[in-house]
Subunit: 263 residues, 2 copies
C-alpha cells in the first residue's frame, strides 16, 4: 500500500484515522498552517506526533479562517497501528490541547477515507446578536450588531441561495489551478435558513463545499438586507453579476462555527 | 457638600453616578485594583477619567476574583455635573472598553447611594457542564466536570444554606478589622438553587453579602455532593464546624457570574 504520508512504521501497513474535533478559534490564525503562526492544525499535528511518535500528514474537511470556531471539524491522517489506541489517543490529546481544542471522536476508518475529498456536505452556523449594548460574555462568539434585524427579509434572501450557483460574487478570488486554469466557484447550497434563538439570530447553511469567505460574505450581505440596507431580492442579482464588488458586508469571523460534515 | 472623592469640579457640587456593568473576567486579575495588574476597576477608572477629565474614586457592589464574570455589577462614583452626559458617557466607555467590558446603564443617583453599602443583596450564578469532553466554545465560561451530577442531592444540600449562618467554613479567613477585632462571617442566604439548562447545571445563590471565595467554595462542595463524594446532608455539619478545612472543593472562577445586585 502506498500513501502520501509515510508514518515510517517500518513494516506494519498504516491505518487511516478519522477524528472529529471542536475548537475555539479565538487564539488561532485559522485552521491551516501559516508559517510561524499559531494554528489549529499546528497544535493538532504537534499533539499527534507527541503521542504517536511518528510524522503526521493531516487532511481536514474545512479550512476555517482566523477566529472561526468548530464543533464538528473532521480530520484524517495515517497512523502506525502498533502505536494507535483510539481511546487513549483521544484522552492524551484532550489533556495536551485543552481548553482551546477538544477531540470528540477518534476511530479507524476505511483506508480510502479522506476528510476533505470524501465530504459530501459542510454545515456552518453563524451567530448574530442584535442589541444596543454587546454582551462581553459572548465576545469572540457572536457578531454584535446594533440594528434590529428583519428575519423574514433575511430568510427570503437566504432562499435565493439554495441550489447550484456560481458564487464568484461571494468568494475571495482563488489562485489559479497549478495548470493555470481558473478554479470553478460553482457550489451547491443544500439549505440556508435563519432562526431566532433567545436574543440571537442563527444562520444555518449547508453546501457541497464552500469557497473562501463564502459563508461570511453571504451572512454579512443577508444582515445588510435584515437591517434594510439592501432589498430582500438583492441576492439573485448579486449571484448573477458574478462580481465580488456586488456583495455586501463581510461578517466578522467570530460568529462562525463549522458544526457538521456529512460523508 | 463634602465627599471623600473630590472630583475637583471647581465650584459645582459633584453628582453621584450609578452604573451597571458587564464584563468578561477572563483577561483580568479580578475586579479590584492590584498594583501593576490588569483589573476591571483599573480599566473602568482609566476610561472614566479619559471621558470626564477628572479623578474618579470608584465603589463596587462585589469585588469579583480573577476570571469571574459579571452581567450586573454595580459601581458608583462622583462626577462633575458639567462634564456628565450619561448617554454619551455610556457610548464613549463602550467604545473604549469593548469587548471585555460593557456599560449597560448609567444614571445620576441619590447623593447617598453607595454601590457597596446601599446593596441589600447580591445574586450570583454558577455554570457547570458535566460531559465526557469539554466544549472549547465554553472555555472560560463554565466549569467542565466529567462526573454525572445528582441534581436532587445538590438541591437538598443547597437548602441547608438558606438563612442566617456563620460561613467561616466556606470563606477565606479575612484580615482582622483595623481595630484588631475579627470580622464577622455571618451572612444571610436568601435563596440557593440548582437548575438544569440544556446540557448545563446552573447554581443560583443570593445573599445579603458574600465573604471571599464563598460562592466558589459552596459551589465546589455542592458539586462534591452531586458526584457522590460527600453525602447530601453534609452542609449543615460543615457550617456548624466553622472550620475552613471541613468544606470541599473550591470551584474554579470561570463558571461564576455576578448577575444582579438589589438595592
Amino acid at each position: 500500500m502506498v500513501t502520501t504520508a509515510d508514518p515510517g512504521t517500518g513494516g506494519s501497513a498504516p491505518v487511516r484515522v478519522r477524528m472529529t474535533v471542536a475548537y475555539n478559534g479565538t487564539g488561532y490564525r485559522g485552521f491551516w498552517a501559516v508559517e510561524g503562526q499559531r494554528t489549529v492544525a499546528g497544535d493538532l499535528v504537534e499533539g499527534l506526533e507527541k503521542v504517536l511518535r511518528h510524522p503526521i500528514e493531516l487532511t481536514c474537511a474545512g479550512r476555517t479562517d482566523a477566529g472561526v470556531h468548530a464543533t464538528g471539524q473532521v480530520v484524517s491522517f495515517d497512523a502506525d497501528p502498533n502505536r494507535l489506541d483510539p481511546e487513549r489517543l483521544q484522552a492524551s490529546l484532550n489533556g495536551l490541547l485543552a481548553p482551546a481544542i477538544a477531540v470528540r471522536e477518534v476511530g479507524v476508518s476505511d483506508p480510502d477515507f479522506d476528510a476533505r475529498f470524501s465530504a459530501r456536505a459542510r454545515w456552518y452556523r453563524y451567530r448574530v446578536r442584535s442589541a444596543p449594548v454587546p454582551d462581553p460574555l459572548r465576545a469572540g462568539l457572536v457578531w454584535p450588531v446594533r440594528h434590529v434585524l428583519d428575519g423574514r427579509a433575511m430568510n427570503e434572501a437566504a432562499r435565493q441561495l439554495v441550489g447550484e450557483h456560481d458564487f464568484t460574487s461571494f468568494c475571495r478570488r482563488p489562485k489559479p489551478a497549478p495548470d493555470g486554469t481558473e478554479r470553478s466557484l460553482v457550489r451547491r447550497v443544500i439549505a440556508a435558513q435563519w432562526g431566532a434563538a433567545d436574543d440571537e439570530w442563527h444562520f444555518e447553511i449547508g453546501a457541497s463545499a464552500f469557497c473562501h469567505q463564502m459563508v461570511r460574505s453571504i451572512t454579512g450581505t443577508l444582515v445588510d438586507i435584515g437591517r434594510g440596507r439592501l432589498p430582500a431580492d438583492a441576492v439573485s442579482g448579486i449571484l448573477a453579476a458574478q462580481d465580488r464588488n456586488q456583495a455586501g458586508t463581510i461578517a466578522p469571523p467570530q460568529g462562525l462555527v463549522l458544526h457538521r460534515v456529512d460523508y
